[in-house]
Amino acid sequence: MSNLLEIKNLKKYFSTPRGELHAVDNVNLNIEKGKTIGVVGESGCGKSTLGKTLMRLHTPTSGEVLYNGEDIAGMPMKEFKQKYRTNIQMIFQDPYASLDPRMNVLQLIEEPIKVNHKDMSKADVTARAKEMMELVGLAKRLEGSYPHELDGGRRQRIGIARALSLNPDFIVCDEPVSALDVSIQAQILNLLQDLQEERGLTYMFITHDMSVVKHISDDIAVMYLGQLIEKCPANEIFKNTIHPYSQALLSAIPIPNVHVKKERMILKGELTSPIDPKPCCRFAARCPYASEGCMEKEPELREVKPNHFVACHYAEKFMK
């Protein structure tokens, strides 16, 4: 198996008046070519920052991101833009805010092609944009429409067309369906799956919705306060959840079935601050099983069984 992307000890800190905010802290992750890795966590856990750091929308504080073996995190911006901008693309969360309201559909889709292929003739650019519109299922008559005239699903299709027009290998999908209605959400998820099959795309799918992530991902990584706390194949996490936080996260999802009355694990308190965290298990404050050991040392992500990584001192205790 070949890894398209290898993230090594990636850190992104933001300095705030109150101290260093550890948005992404020491993340290690390998992403296989043609697969989808789901990144889940609650708001403020650093999942979006992780995606944007891979995109180089943020400059990482330290660490490496190897793309086909070459470090793209440390390379100068100019070189990155020339070599990799078209390879790595992103689909944004809010299709209402992520499109320039003063451009129409065709202009929006032409923009990335124009910017990155300066030698292309105007007619070629337009032809390619039209091709993209067809690919993502936007009707021809919408060419001259402005985003404010379209519904969320169509706007998100524009976002997808913009990303795809550059023929990327890797796409960071940052909550691409959370602003959409369920029936539209299904359309977009299917579209993303079809495109992946057709073009062999690799996705990083960032979301807070466990059922969506389970549906679309091959592997799942759970983040808590900037750190990866559990990583395993998608099915495994629902069958053998190990980390107490992942357990809580799963048990919190309301299931649309009246007969399943779940034993719910209600966590006390809320996300603690990621500013200057103490060197201990970051989940310990809310963990129902926390003991003194958790407060002394930071747990490392370790392989507790084949392909299942957990960052918990007592992982073995929770294994079935």
Partner: protein
């Protein structure tokens, strides 16, 4: 005394502007018994929030118009009330929780003051008593009562929503309308809030209308469920009926388009097309254009609500006699 505390009949609400008329709520009727929780489910633009605002008497002035219908609370038609009487009813008899807890609180007043304010407005008591009540309410929603002196910005999102709930419940209303109370929150926090709302509702015997797009939340919280599409109630019944035995093609499609946690599906079922535009509704069944079970009959007639059994109503031609004739042809 009738058991129905809320009775909505043939309610039609339009939004009228210079350019268009949006048919937000189209002829809906439902009843709510005392102590019961009704889930109002639907997608954006289905008219859920408009229905709630109609009950509260808070439709945007000049634009929102009640075209017909009545809303009875304890047998009294709310549309006959003056604005002054409505103000008395709001907060005391009906309370509403809005989606975004951040904008529902006044940033320059302490949370204690904000709860006490509602108490003072609707009951005769001294300021000290009101503040005492505020502290009790905070304790009830799981916030240390000593924090009544804190300002909203000192609380996190989940805590703010708890405070909003405390304000809504301070006068022990008979009816609580919660409009997507947990949509802006994280799942683990949502679980806390839902847990708390359920126990408070049981304890106080409040009736509740829970507006949400999340079928999971409905399954957990509600006794009855009403599915809305394009301003109409398309299916209504007990949650057991709706979840185990959905009848309307839209309800069925909704279930199939949610990715499931316990089953592996390769591709999701998709409702074709877009959500129907409420400013341009067809004269026939609103869902017909997206429906997979339709026949030509559906593009001719607008179905009526049909009672399938005691606990289950559906608005679809499939369950009428005409349909059978059509199929046999």
């Amino acid at each position: 005394m009738s058991e129905n505390m809320l009775n909505v009949e043939n309610l039609v609400i339009h939004y009228e502007t210079d350019e268009e008329v949006v048919e937000a709520v189209n002829n809906i009727s439902f009843r709510l018994k005392k102590g019961e929780v009704l889930g109002l489910v639907g997608e954006t633009g289905a008219g859920k929030t408009t229905t709630a605002l109609g009950i509260m008497g808070l439709l945007p002035p000049k634009v929102g118009h009640v075209i017909q219908g009545k809303i009875e609370l304890d047998g009294e038609n709310l549309f006959d009330k003056s604005e002054r009487e409505m103000r008395n009813i709001r907060g005391k008899k009906i309370s509403m929780i809005f989606q975004d807890p951040m904008t529902a609180l006044n940033p320059v007043k302490t949370v204690g003051e904000q709860i006490a304010e509602v108490v003072l407005l609707h009951s005769r008591c001294s300021k000290v008593e009101a503040l005492k009540r505020a502290q009790d309410m905070l304790a009830m929603v799981g916030i240390v009562p000593e924090r009544y002196k804190d300002y909203p910005h000192q609380f996190s999102g989940g805590m703010k929503q708890r405070i909003v709930i405390a304000i809504a419940l301070a006068c022990e209303p008979e009816l609580l309308i919660a409009d997507e109370p947990t949509t802006a929150l994280d799942v683990t926090i949502q679980a806390q809030i839902l847990d708390m709302m359920r126990s408070l509702q049981k304890k106080q015997g409040t009736s509740m209308i829970l507006i949400t797009h999340d079928l999971g939340v409905v399954a957990e919280m509600c006794d009855h469920c009403a599915v809305m599409y394009a301003g109409e109630l398309v299916e209504y019944g007990t949650v057991e009926e709706i979840f185990d035995n959905p009848k309307h093609p839209y309800t069925k499609a909704l279930y199939q388009s949610i990715p499931s946690l316990d089953k592996d599906v390769d591709r999701l079922h998709v409702v074709p097309g877009m959500v129907t535009d409420p400013s341009n509704l067809p004269e026939y069944c609103s869902f017909a254009d997206r429906c997979e079970a339709k026949c030509d009959l559906c593009e001719k007639a607008d179905p009526k609500m049909i009672r399938l059994n005691e606990e289950h109503c559906v608005k679809c031609l499939q369950y009428t006699k005409e349909w059978e004739g059509k199929i046999n042809e």
